[in-house]
Symmetry: none
DNA sequence: AATGAATGAGCGTTCATTCAT
DNA sequence: AATGAATGAACGCTCATTCAT
């Protein structure tokens, strides 16, 4: 009888375990977002879900591991969103705008997670080649792919490295969001997405088109 | 009552106040850059110049004050460079390129100082209105001024907020530098400056000109 | 980012929370009494019970909190003693003598706790209205009540503020104990209690009685 | 010529030295009073008179020495005041009242100096037998002498140790002043002096007089 | 699976004191 | 006589991590 029940029990345990992991990750995300990595304490992460510090270490070997998994989960959510959003859009510029818009939304919703990525994880030893790194590359690759495709079919000029465009977009959004969030204005995502897309896409027009109206500087 | 403190015995080489302050600031800049603010310890900053922790506090009231002054010095150096570089250039696009180029150089030399500004200082209470804030505004204002002047004389389209351009430039450079420094390629500052300038300036062309050649997306 | 902390290896004997709290409070009381508040170090309080500094902070948020709780416990012990001692005594003078006697004993046993109250706690911001303040009021009120009752029923003169009597008793005992403890004589509590009581109660005779035999000073 | 000037110069130097000592002691008294001993820093004491920490150590070997000398000076001032005040008063009770009144004034004017004596100095090793101890004994002896004289000539009962009276007075005043200073009421020195004197002196009536009207306690 | 007592290393900061100049 | 640079030993407090129960 005991043998017969085993699979069910194992399954239940596995489910319980998964739930705990979820709980902890949600709590960790909240605390990391509110306080940043250093100021967040494992004690608080545990306390918020009514458990004890030690238990967290049953599921995650270190505080850092916890941070990494929080961020991995976040990327995994973003992937789904992004792919659903791109589906059915074929116009290049519209696709770019959609990617920009999605990232803006992501940053608005969890600005701190972005910060954590950039502040605490990237560039630390061990990041390069990690599964988080892979997710980050995959995430930003959507935009790079779009630019490259445009360059291949001639709708974008080819003398700008696609990765530079990616950096301007993600770096720019980081700064822009920061300023808006801390500043007086609210963040108008659609407007901002259009402005960024417009600015970059028109800058990316092939020279032939751009050459027709060179920048003429007035004397100062 | 506090226990009586015991006397000092051996002394490091005496230095004039200003020299020590300089030494400490240089050491602090190095350590902050290598480890970030939190992980940097005042003890290490002191040890690197063969001095005892307490002495640092004779010249700087807190660790944070030390960070702030490191950053202020950095800005002060940048101002001189920037103004010398702009002098004598009147062509708008050349001025923009120069600003981009200078910032690229600054970030390449001390990529972490940017990060410190962005991560540790901006948005913390007390930053707004501080002399560091003033320096930061002044520094980033160079570019904003250039864009606004272009918008006023009609050489730049007016439907893009100048501050967005600034954010794309500074945020983008931060990401680009970061990627290049950590990645495989070396950083070709002149080339990168030209690419960024070209991309943005052409994206900033007045609509009338741009409207003549709308982006036509090829089907994927 | 903070450097990773290294693990613990050897552990002191585990104790139930309440027991540890007790142990710590006893140790704290001893060290505070021996050295005073400032010179007492949390490290020593911990070391005396074979425990590490940090553990103290698991149970008490600050050193000051520790002091406060030591004093609260002391008052709580005193209340029990005092009330048991007063029960069944109805003679006013006997009640006063009992209160004096009890305080003398308290001060003899822990002369420094009085001092700590008076020096470190009273008059500090946050004391007024605290639970320690409440205990202090309750404790000294016993005597004030007795004096007031005597004034109401005419057995004590009414032109002396009861609080002055209280101050003379508690302040006087503090000094007297101090001198005796540090001086040559031992502290004969019963005798001293009788002397103080006699001195004050007879000084509290209604004017009518005292007026009959005014103090006649001999010329010097 | 140089030889001839020597005495004058020596004298000038001695004067200058004495002035410095005075300056430092005044500054030290102020800072000790404002902050207490531990919280006072030698740096601040020096800064207030526009000199440098090191100079203080030219004149006083330690911070503690500074405290001791501040207190000695204070006692020396009090002696003069007290003796001038007592001169010409022969009535015993009036003399007691005057002593009480003078101490009340001293405590009102420099309550912190009293505190320092009691908190930081008395009972510390080295106090016993020190010149400060001598001054303290001399100061409180005035009152003890008065009581003893009264006991000798029969105007005070002899079964109360004069030192107990002294402790009640000085301890009581400490508490009373503390309460009044921190409390709502202002300190009416003359009234308080009269109340204390009256309470104690009438309590000190020879048994014969007091025995005529024993305290009759009403049943509670 | 969960608890929670315990560790230990570290950090920012203060300050009495010394001594070269 | 005066300066002020430098020391060094604490101290209060925090927290990731371990492990007995």
């Amino acid at each position: 009888m005991a043998a017969a029940r085993k699979p069910a029990r194992t399954h239940a345990i596995r489910r319980a375990r998964a739930q705990r992991v979820d709980e902890i990750l949600v709590s960790a995300r909240d605390v990391f977002c509110e306080k940043g990595y250093d100021a967040a304490s494992v004690a608080e992460i545990a306390a918020r879900i009514g458990v004890v510090e030690g238990l967290v270490y049953k599921y995650f070997s270190t505080k850092r591991e916890l941070l990494l998994q929080v961020l991995e989960r976040w990327y995994d959510e973003l992937f789904g969103d992004t792919e659903r959003a791109l589906a059915g859009i074929s116009d290049r510029r519209a696709r770019v705008r959609m990617l920009v818009r999605h990232h803006l939304r992501a940053v608005r919703d969890y600005p701190q997670l972005c910060k954590l990525m950039f502040r605490e994880v990237q560039g630390e030893s061990g990041y390069h080649g990690s599964s988080l790194h892979a997710r980050n590359r995959r995430y930003t690759q959507y935009l790079v792919d779009e630019i490259e495709a445009g360059q291949r079919d001639g709708s974008f000029r080819a003398d700008i490295p696609p990765r530079l465009v990616r950096d301007l977009v993600y770096g720019g959004i980081e700064h822009a969001t920061w300023h808006y969030l801390r500043g007086r204005g609210s963040l108008d995502i659609d407007r901002l997405a259009e402005q960024i897309t417009s600015l970059l896409c028109e800058g990316l027009l092939p020279r032939a088109a751009a050459a027709m109206s060179p920048v003429r500087n007035k004397p100062r």
